[in-house]
């Protein structure tokens, strides 16, 4: 990513894809973490990398994202964060020392430098300066136990050749210069435990910040300080969350993101994701970049409803969950699964051809264990349903006595 010209070329190419009239939508840690959670999705990698406004794109495609934040949650989150940073962050340093079991000398002071500046680049510069000042204090022998807390600093992390600006809730610098990422979240730590899914999300996000801190130099602590409301109150409590695994995972995924140039190169010339274009054209453009849809996307990606619609109409089995892929082996589509299970080719008029008959015909030609298991599953299922007097499954006429409705469906093709 240090080769200047290819990077500039990529930036130009990404701008074309985005539509030159639109400013790039900055990547944030949440997007980077989500990307790392589904690294196989080239569609998301390219759209995020190009800074396309995916929410607007989803609207243009007619499948708007259902995300939104309640103003109650917003107000509460802000009030809580203000409380955490109150009293010049002394309480925050106290929480950090308690959570990490810090046995160093009592803090003699807490510096909270002003980081306001124009634009993300300016704020990133101020942050770098503040970190350098903290390092200076750490290097001075008479510096005392002074902590520095950077509230909403701006960090830069090169991703796929261009810098991404990231804004953690806070970064605490210990008197010895060690940086710790601080995340303030509004879900509670209740009796010492918190929702593991939410903690996991916070840790992945913080791992991105920790990588950005590493880029700026200086030692970075292995753990994140997670600050949450205690029980049912609005009082802050904190826990240290080990980040080493998440950091390794995010680092690996981000390194793979440099493949952005390859993904962009595979998109035909003239294709654009400019959200001003008509929906049909955008749908065709989006279809040019392969996606790796899984139901988990619904919670994290704005385009998920569109991708789900496409995956469904393509009959992909991943719409039923990531786990089914492992069970079905090489069978990737609904039709292929049913054809395997019932021993029929998709679309073949199976009048009178029950699974038993066709199964016997090509039994020798089916070495795939997934197909054999499916065939047995279909036979057992039909048998059990018939035994209980249930209607046999509709897709193909089952052996035994198909009820009138199933027979009509089968004949309707």
């Amino acid at each position: 990513m240090n080769h200047r010209t290819p990077a500039a070329g990529l930036r130009r190419r990404l701008a074309e894809l985005r539509g030159p009239a639109h400013p790039p939508r900055p990547l944030d840690a949440r997007a980077l973490a989500a990307l790392a959670a589904n690294p196989g999705c080239r569609r998301r990698a390219l759209l995020d990398g190009a800074g396309v406004d995916k929410a607007a794109l989803a609207r243009a495609l007619g499948a708007p994202a259902p995300f939104g934040q309640s103003q109650f949650a917003f107000a509460r989150g802000h009030a809580f964060e203000a409380r955490v940073h109150a009293d010049g962050c002394a309480a925050l340093v106290g929480l950090l020392r308690a959570a990490t079991g810090d046995t160093g000398p009592e803090p003699t002071g807490v510096e909270v430098p002003d980081l306001t500046a124009d634009g993300p680049a300016g704020r990133a510069a101020r942050t770098r300066l503040a970190l350098a000042e903290a390092d200076d204090r750490a290097a001075r022998p008479d510096g005392g136990a002074v902590w520095t807390v950077l509230v909403h600093p701006m960090l830069a992390l090169p991703v796929a050749g261009s810098p991404v600006h990231l804004e953690p809730d806070a970064v605490a610098v210990a008197p010895d210069g060690t940086r710790t990422v601080v995340e303030v979240k509004s879900f509670p730590i209740l009796d010492g435990t918190a929702d593991p899914a939410k903690v996991g999300g916070a840790a992945r996000q913080a791992a991105v910040y920790a990588l950005a801190l590493e880029e700026s130099g200086g030692p970075v602590a292995d753990a994140l300080l997670l600050v949450c409301p205690k029980d049912f109150s609005n009082l802050p409590t904190a826990a240290a969350v080990d980040l080493r695994r998440q950091r390794a995972a995010v680092r690996r995924q981000l390194a793979r993101l440099t493949g952005l140039a390859d993904i962009a190169a595979a998109v035909p010339e003239g294709v654009t994701f400019d959200v001003e274009r008509p929906g049909a054209e955008l749908a065709a453009a989006v279809a040019d970049v392969p996606a790796a849809y899984a139901p988990e996307c619904l919670a994290t990606c704005e385009l998920a409803f569109h991708c789900r619609e496409r995956a469904r109409s393509g009959g992909e089995v991943t719409v039923l969950g990531r786990a089914v892929r492992g069970e079905l082996g090489a069978l990737r589509t609904v039709d292929a699964v049913l054809a395997a299970a019932h021993g029929t080719a998709p679309g073949a008029g199976a009048e009178g051809g029950g699974p038993e008959d066709t199964g016997a015909e090509d039994a020798g030609a089916v070495p795939d264990p997934a197909v054999a298991a499916l065939r047995r599953a279909a036979r057992l299922r039909a048998e059990a349903l018939a035994q209980a007097g249930h209607a046999a499954p509709a897709p193909t006429p089952a052996p035994g006595a198909p009820p009138p409705r199933a027979a009509r469906d089968g004949g309707g093709r």
Partner: protein, 524 residues
């Protein structure tokens, strides 16, 4: 998901209709369950916003909090909730029967237990959260000096809800059920388990299963051409998408989320302005908030009852009543703890209690899997597919006897099966005896050829020198053997709490837990 369940999902996706995953009902349903549909305030822990609650589908009680950040209003809501829930939860305490215990002494057991039904897994979690938030509160009677005492019966409700929430973690229990869990246990949709957590979408698939779609609908070129089933292959998916995303002219979801979280658009467009009017003292603002919350709650309320009706239509499994007995024991035990004046359930279980709960849940899980398979041929089919059971026709029966001092009948039964059980010589197998439903044990004696299994019967034949009548199958009978026990037992007993080994923290520190103190922070 088992392969059989995956196949059902694939069939549902292809046909556009939910497909059965069970042929009988696997959970106990009370005649008059209490349905509880809660809503919570976004971003707050344990700040309820409102609820619909009751046992009559036509007449729910609506409870609301006009300003969820106000402690007094929250307490008022909880007191009202206690007024509705507690009479139900306490209703079965006094009707008891006496049953002998294994130790020989007689024990008292409640003849029924009240049931609570919530919309989804989030609802179950919220019941636990409400229980936690209430059970450590102190009333004015208990602690006259404490500021902001809780209303009288609120801590008691907290202990009941905690018990119900904890019981919901026991596999197969039915004191506290969620509508989505009930439905997904019995039907497969053509979407992922993640999406099944949306009660509206889940019901949309089930309604599509019922809608009478004539075959001629599939006759047009498009449906036939894509190689899918005729009759609107995507009916379920389309209906589910409408339930997930369809919004009215004001941008509000037509099918509000089943809670406890609200739709952010509703919060921002309707609720927040109404709460602001309430704060400003505008006349009628509280009534407006009640009406608004009712619009969000009522569709879910109706959906929960629809789910209950659908599940109730299935015939109950044979062993469901026996499992419900476990719930009645659990209810009785909690009643006894309350009557004995024991302190509220601790914030965290001590090591022995936690280990005991875990062991009990593992045992109950094994028992549930076994019983569901025995009750339901469709579930059994899954176990047969997994090689954990096999069915077939008896081809030969050979008399044989044990070699001890007193020879006992040990007949050898050979079965021809199309299944592929994971058997080796010596593997224990079990079957249900026709007639009385007792379990007969056996072991695999030989695997004489492909598709053939010889089982040596080892029990269930009486004490005589000749097997009891009907206890040995004859050639031509259809039999089904399982490789799993029908009444799995738990592991060895655990030590008493005072004997907790040091590896597990040693004996727990004594003394009841501190109450939750009211702080200035309670005013959020």
């Amino acid at each position: 998901m088992t392969l059989l369940a995956t196949l059902a999902r694939v069939e549902a996706a292809a046909s556009g209709r939910a497909q059965p995953l069970a042929t009988v009902r696997h959970r106990h349903l009370a005649e008059h369950p209490m349905v509880f549909v809660p809503l919570t305030t976004a971003g707050e822990a344990g700040a309820p916003l409102g609820a619909l609650v009751g046992t009559d589908p036509a007449a729910p009680t609506l409870l609301t909090v006009p300003q969820p950040r106000d402690r007094d209003l929250r307490f008022r809501f909880l007191a009202e909730l206690a007024d509705v829930l507690l009479p139900h939860l306490e209703s079965a305490q006094d009707a008891v029967e006496t049953v002998p215990r294994r130790s020989g002494e007689a024990a008292e057991r409640c003849v029924d237990a009240p049931q609570l039904v919530v919309p989804n897994a989030g609802g179950v979690a919220f019941v636990r959260l409400l229980g936690r938030s209430m059970r450590f509160r102190r009333t004015a009677e208990e602690d006259p000096d404490a500021p902001h005492p809780a209303p009288a019966r609120v801590p008691l409700l907290g202990r009941w809800l905690t018990h119900y929430g904890e019981r919901a973690r026991v596999p197969g229990s039915a004191l506290l059920l969620s509508a989505t869990e009930l439905l997904t246990r019995h039907w497969a949709t053509g979407q992922s388990p993640l999406e099944d957590q949306h009660l509206g979408a889940l019901l949309a698939w089930l309604r599509a299963a019922e809608a009478d779609v004539p075959g001629r609908d599939g006759g047009d070129g498009r449906d036939g051409g894509d190689g899918r089933d005729g009759g609107g292959g995507a009916a379920g998916a389309r209906a589910a998408l409408r339930a997930e995303t369809e919004r009215d002219a004001e941008g509000l979801l037509r099918t509000p989320p089943a809670g406890p979280a609200t739709d952010p658009a509703f919060d921002n467009q309707r609720l927040a302005p109404a709460v602001a009017r309430y704060d400003a003292g505008v006349f009628g603002a509280e009534a407006e908030i009640r009406t608004l919350l009712a619009t969000q709650l009522r569709p879910t309320w109706d959906a929960v009852w629809e789910a209950l009706e659908r599940v109730r239509a299935l015939p109950p499994g044979e062993r469901v009543a026996a499992r419900w007995e476990g719930d009645r024991w659990s209810y009785t035990a909690h009643r006894d703890r309350l009557r004995a004046g024991e302190p509220p359930q601790p914030r965290r279980d001590d090591a022995v209690t936690a280990a005991r709960k875990l062991a009990a849940r593992e045992r109950d899980q094994a028992r549930l899997s076994a019983q569901e398979a025995l009750d339901d041929p469709l579930v059994l089919a899954g176990r047969r597919l997994a090689g954990e059971a096999f069915a077939g026709e008896v081809t030969a029966v050979e008399e044989a006897y044990s070699t001890g001092r007193r020879p006992m009948p040990r007949p050898l039964v050979t079965v021809r099966t199309g299944d592929e059980p994971q058997l080796a010589v010596g593997t224990k197998v079990y079957r249900v005896l026709p007639g009385d439903g007792r379990t007969q044990g056996g072991e695999c004696a030989a695997l004489p050829g492909p598709g053939l299994v010889t089982v040596r019967l080892t029990g269930g034949m009486g004490r005589g020198a000749q097997p009891a009548a009907g206890s040995v199958p004859v050639a031509g009978d259809t039999v089904c053997w399982t490789l799993f026990e029908h009444q799995p037992r738990g592991g060895p007993d655990l030590p008493d709490p005072e004997d907790t080994p040091w590896t597990h923290g040693g004996p727990p520190a004594g003394g009841p837990e501190e109450p939750d103190r009211a702080t200035g922070e309670d005013l959020l």
